[in-house]
């Protein structure tokens, strides 16, 4: 269950989009006890100027990304735009059965995109 992906150069500024990962959809529901899925989200959008610059409340832009976007706007053939990637992520825990019939609770870092940034 995802916000539809947008084509290259469209869709506005780089930001987090909604993506729900269902363990049933990926075929893991027989051994994952909980959760049934989670809101993983993903990043998409343009990293051209001025979107690359840090917005209010947004993640700080890397200086490198700003200069790369500036270079791209001046001479597009020299370099591509910075990438829209996760800037802040948070963890989830998964409860599941392993192959030894043990009940396992595992904590996974960096599973949910909270914030995106141009890098």
């Amino acid at each position: 269950d995802a916000e539809p992906a947008v084509g290259r150069g469209l869709g506005g500024a780089c930001r987090a989009r909604r993506l729900y990962v269902s363990f049933r959809e990926v075929g893991w529901h027989r051994w994952v006890i909980a959760p049934r899925g989670f809101l993983a989200n993903y990043c998409q959008g343009q990293c051209s100027l001025p979107a690359t610059l840090p917005g209010p409340g947004g993640p700080p832009a890397l200086n490198h990304a700003v200069l790369r976007a500036l270079m791209h706007s001046a001479i597009p053939s020299t370099t591509s735009l910075p990438c829209c990637v996760p800037a802040r992520l948070s963890p989830i825990s998964v409860l599941f059965f392993d192959n030894s019939d043990n009940v396992v609770l595992r904590h996974y870092e960096d599973m949910v995109v909270d914030e995106c940034g141009c890098r």
Binding site: S90, L95, F97, N102
Partner: protein, 226 residues
Amino acid sequence: ARAPVAPGPAATLLQALGLRDAPQGAPKSRPVPPVMWRLFRRRDPQEARTSPRRTSPGAILRPCHVEELGVAGNIVRHVLDRGARAQTLGPTSPTGQCTEWTVVFDLSAVEPEELPSHARLEMRFAEAEATAGAAGGWELSVGREAEGAGTGLVLLRQAVATLGTPVRVELLGAAWARNASAPRSLRLVLALRPRASGACASLIEASLLLVTLDPRLCHPLARPRR
């Protein structure tokens, strides 16, 4: 000679998540223990979404730490005994005429890189009807199984006042060293000796709650948040 077959994308993905193989599915006769539900709910993603890294106002969830048990770790396993074997002993044994049990825990799923931080043995006993209500309680002894059969080295002894609630003992530091990896298999001999009367008990279930810290999955240790 045939080259080794490269793992498929699904297997590679599972390995990245710390799983050797895709688990086959839920066993039919294995309910999820309440303690595992409690531990999971402490880190409910719904709650984390509304209040990141917090379970309640003021309570910050430490990364790679199991709050409820107060130990470091990012993997908790509930391991059931692989079939308790009972043995009734003679009057010369430490348990008198009572039974002692051999319990076996398969820990082969624990990776060598994982550092155990908590290993809680939990046992549920029932008193024999004819001898219910032992005055003075019991003494539990946990030993390593000797070569052949019977109790080898006694690892720990613990007084047990009542059998109405599960009996819990910490094995880390006793069954294996604190800074060592978990053994592939753990075979223990349990004995419950009445302190005063000749009351005996029977073992209903034994399980192991094992907490480990896999540093490979614990990014905040290496990269603290600013």
